[in-house]
């Protein structure tokens, strides 16, 4: 008998007057000690499957059909008290946001104490000893001291380790991990995944891993369910799935994610994005069909049946697609924009440093942080440059200094050969015409009280320009076409747009006055892969049409590889390696670059990942 068996589960939600099927006919099995990956973009319903185990569903959501058997008992019909007795003991959870998942006003020790008490460990002394034992199991240094600390004194990686320790404390048979590394840095992500695997081995625990990252899942899991809009569209062994995906959605998902090795393929762009819950009821037939590159008549007529195409490999698609007969053609991408040399650079950084001094309050000493240390480079016309690094590497500070939102403490930034510190109206205006910034989070960068038209042409409202409404309206129409938004979105507010559409508006606003250089800070990091692909292709198209340069700040190496011809690797404020992207990625010289590259799950399903870290455990922890 399997440990977990889901049989045709349908989860319904009441939205207003109508009932929507949030999950349809979800079935899977999980054996003891096995790992199952649930993969899909946001809105696919993968987190809802995780929530089925606790039955902590949002108001109005309820399972309308099917059963979820855990260890011989149906979790859905089980009484609440009985189910609660399982939680934390036999079924444990690892959360998505480690920093907010621990109670900020209780010490780590008292949170462990509470949990161990519930698990039935008697005696304060015994609980303390056990807490220390399991904290050292997750390689946290000085567990005795840690017990007296509060969550805000810990880094994200340390919090996640503590939470993993809590989850495994009860020796559970099943752990549900919902995007356990999404909020963490690339390096930390690899280490946490390695730790989870280690703990799983140690305790013989089965795991359900919910993630948006197909490659990560393929390396960590035994089998994978791919979800789209509440449907399981493909179910397969993990390696098999990455090597030979069959459902058109799985194939697009795999290809929409740029690679860090091998040939650079043009990213296929699916139109739009995953439909929201409200739209589900309007979708007859296959819910993917409106975006499907194949989209046959049969797909719209009705939901196709689950087809078995191999041992343990099922696809929810019409036979012609599932068999691989109708594949989407792959095109090799043109080389990333290299520009026309740096003889007359548009922006030049000369030995730029930025030191932050926190003035000591009252009795404390002043602390200094060198956020950026002696960075020099130049951006030529039409050139796409990338800066990669983890959070805290100083890459965002570089972007802010170039945009003029921050000033270097040493060194010089030249815009078109003129010092960026010049404050004359003329010099300022020239800088603004030359350089624009695209902010990371469109939610924060777009004033929610302006309409799209007003946002796009906001630059024309500036002090030294002041165009009338008619001119602005005309420009807005051009820009909408440029960024690929429908004309009727002019009169919408940002809250009425999807995440990808908002990021398009964000880009459109920056190109309104036709600047020469765009500084883009992590502009795709909050987006789903298929939307990310759309935005990356949009940037490449803008390069062709407007001959702009781009400085892309990103933690995602594969994104930088796809669109940047040169790359700078930053670590603790310093540029540790730079050069043509292909060369740096193929043959990294600096140890840090090598570690960074090894932390990315490889495209090849057979190469092992997560890597074994050569540093001693103490070093590992110090790096967090």
């Amino acid at each position: 008998m399997s440990l977990v068996e889901a049989r045709d589960i349908t989860l319904s939600a009441r939205i207003g007057d109508m009932s929507v099927e949030v999950l349809r006919n979800v079935s899977f099995t999980l054996e003891a000690g096995e790992t199952l990956g649930l993969v899909g973009e946001s809105g696919a319903g993968k987190s809802m499957i995780g929530r089925l185990f606790s039955q902590l569903l949002p108001p109005g959501f309820a399972v309308s059909a099917g059963e979820l058997i855990f260890d011989g008992e149906n979790l859905i019909t089980m009484s609440q008290t009985k189910r609660r007795r399982l939680l934390g003991k036999r079924i444990a959870f690892v959360p998505q946001e480690p920093m907010t998942a621990l109670n900020p006003v209780l010490s780590i020790g008292s949170q462990f104490n509470e949990h161990l008490k519930r698990l039935g460990v008697r005696g304060g002394r015994a609980r303390r000893d056990l807490a220390i034992k399991i904290l050292s199991e997750v390689h946290l240094p000085e567990p005795e001291l840690l017990l007296g600390k509060y969550p805000h004194q810990l880094s994200g990686g340390m919090c996640q380790r503590a939470l993993i320790a809590l989850a495994f404390a009860g020796d559970p048979v099943l752990v549900v991990a919902d995007e356990p590394t999404t909020a963490l840095d690339v390096m930390t992500q690899a280490r946490i995944m390695a730790l989870i695997a280690e703990m799983q081995q140690l305790h013989g625990t089965a795991m359900i891993l919910i993630t948006h990252d197909l490659r990560l899942a393929a390396h960590v899991c035994d089998k994978i369910l791919v979800m789209y809009a509440g449907d399981v569209v493909e179910r397969s062994g993990a390696r098999d799935l990455l090597a030979d995906p069959r459902h058109p959605y799985t194939r697009s998902l795999k290809r929409a994610n740029p690679t860090i090795s091998g040939p650079r393929m043009r990213l296929p762009t699916l139109p739009d994005q995953m439909p929201g819950l409200v739209e589900f009821s309007n979708l007859s037939g296959c819910r993917f069909s409106p975006r499907c590159p194949v989209n046959a008549d049969a797909c719209r007529a009705g939901v196709p049946a689950m087809l078995e195409i191999g041992p343990g490999h099922d696809v929810l698609c019409v036979p012609a697609c599932a068999s691989g007969e109708r594949d989407i053609s792959e095109v090799e991408a043109p080389p990333a924009p290299g520009g026309n040399g740096t003889d007359a650079p548009l922006v030049e950084l000369k030995n730029v440093s930025r030191r932050f001094v926190t003035r000591g309050k009252w009795f404390a000493n002043a602390t200094t942080v060198d956020a950026v240390n002696d960075v020099s480079f130049a951006i030529g016309q039409g050139e796409f440059i990338g800066i990669v690094g983890e959070s805290g590497s100083g890459k965002t500070t570089v972007a802010r200094m170039i945009a003029g939102l921050d000033q270097p403490t040493e060194g010089q930034i030249l815009v078109r050969g003129k010092d960026a510190r010049l404050q004359t109206a003329e010099a300022k205006a020239e800088r603004l015409e030359t350089l624009q910034m695209i902010f990371q989070d469109p939610q924060s960068a777009l004033n929610p009280r302006r309409m799209v038209e007003s946002l796009l042409t906001q630059a024309m409202e500036a002090d030294h320009r002041n165009h009338d409404a008619e001119e602005r309206g005309g420009r807005a129409v051009d820009l909408l076409r440029e960024i690929g938004l429908p004309g009727d979105s002019r009169r919408r507010y940002p809250s009425q747009l999807s995440g990808g559409q908002r990021q398009r508006v964000n880009i459109g606003r920056a190109i309104c006055i036709a600047p020469k250089v765009l500084v883009a800070d992590e502009i795709v990091s909050g987006l789903d892969v298929s939307v990310q692909a759309q935005i990356l292709n949009l940037l490449l198209r803008l390069r062709e049409e407007l001959d702009i340069s781009l400085l892309l700040i990103s933690h995602d190496l594969s994104v930088v590889r796809y669109i940047c011809s040169r790359v700078f690797v930053m670590h603790k404020g310093c540029v540790v390696e730079s050069g043509p992207t292909e060369q740096v990625f193929a043959d990294p010289q600096h140890a840090y670059t090598r570690t960074l590259l090894s932390a990315v799950p490889p495209d090849d399903a057979d190469s092992p990942w997560p890597p074994l870290f050569s540093e001693s455990e103490a070093d590992v922890v110090r790096a967090f």
């Binding site: 003029g404 924060s444 777009l446 004033n447 906001q458 500036a462 002090d463």
Partner: protein, 294 residues
């Protein structure tokens, strides 16, 4: 019925809230009473009927229909005093809270947007002001300024600008952190334009809500000051004065006490309901929550 429901759904969000409708209705009614006081009042509020003092309301067997709510210890018509009292209350509420809002919001924008030493200075000033219990500060101010409606207004402005400044400043600080402020600067906006076009619209819902609540507070403060005899001139009818007078004869009749108390609390409740309703419909955070639930 469906057409009605459809029409209600088309109204702007604040007008669909029961609280805004009820609160706004009360405020509107008091405003109308204040404006049309001379036509609505059955008697001259200051005219004394020395043979008919402390008369019960008209529905009491001993009452006189000439005085629907009875008379006070000097034989003045209670209903007429209440109606005229609304004038003082509303004038003070509207003018004083507008003044306090203008000063408080201006300083809040300067402090929250520019930060640095100017923020430190304004914050310290607010702290200083807040160390006075408001009642004590307004009493001292009225002592220095002398009685009169305009002085009451001035005193309330001088005391209550801090309420706006403190709350709005922290909201401006939050808005200041949003990227759209940096974006506006990079697009060539000057400070004034950024404040007017980006910051002010974002904190406007808060200001509107605070205005409604402050009007209620102004009504109470005016009543307190007239209760201790430091508000209006002797020949002006005010609810606080009525309460103070009625205390003297509450053993003979409670109506003189209960009616002005009711007038004050109903008016304040109107402002509070209006403020709460506006907060619920205008605060984007609360609105999103309800969207998520819907």
């Amino acid at each position: 019925m469906n057409a009605l429901a459809w029409r209600i759904r088309r109204l702007p969000a604040p007008l669909r809230s029961g609280r805004v409708l009820i609160g706004g209705g009360i405020v509107l009614a008091v405003t109308v009473i204040a404006i049309f006081a001379p036509w609505l009042a059955p008697n001259d509020p200051q005219e004394q009927d020395l043979f008919g003092n402390i008369m019960p309301p008209a529905w009491d067997p001993l009452g006189d229909p000439k005085y629907p709510f009875g008379t006070d210890n000097l034989g003045r018509c209670i209903l007429s005093q209440l109606i005229y009292g609304a004038r003082v209350a509303m004038v003070v509420a509207v003018v004083a809270s507008t003044g306090a809002m203008v000063i408080g919001v201006t300083l809040a924008h300067i402090a929250g947007y520019f930060g640095g030493w100017i923020d430190g200075l304004i914050t310290r000033l607010v702290d200083l002001w807040m160390s006075f219990p408001p009642v004590v500060l307004s009493l001292i101010l009225m002592l220095g300024l002398g009685v009169g409606v305009s002085n009451v207004i001035l005193a309330i402005i001088l005391v209550d600008w801090t309420r706006f400044c403190r709350v709005v400043r922290s909201d401006v600080l939050v808005v200041r952190q949003r990227d759209y402020i940096s974006a506006a600067q990079l697009l060539g906006f000057g400070h004034f334009r950024t404040l007017r076009r980006e910051v002010l619209p974002s904190v406007m819902p808060l200001i509107i809500t605070l205005m409604a609540l402050e009007m209620g507070i102004a009504v109470v403060v005016e009543a307190i000051l007239s209760f201790v005899g430091l508000s209006v001139e002797a020949d002006v009818s005010a609810w606080g004065v009525m309460v103070a007078d009625a205390r003297q004869y509450m053993y003979q009749s409670v109506w003189g006490l209960i009616l002005p108390i009711a007038a004050i609390t109903v008016t304040v409740m109107g402002f509070n309901l209006l403020g709460d309703g506006l907060r619920r419909t205008l605060d984007p955070r609360l609105r999103q929550e309800r969207h998520a639930q819907a």
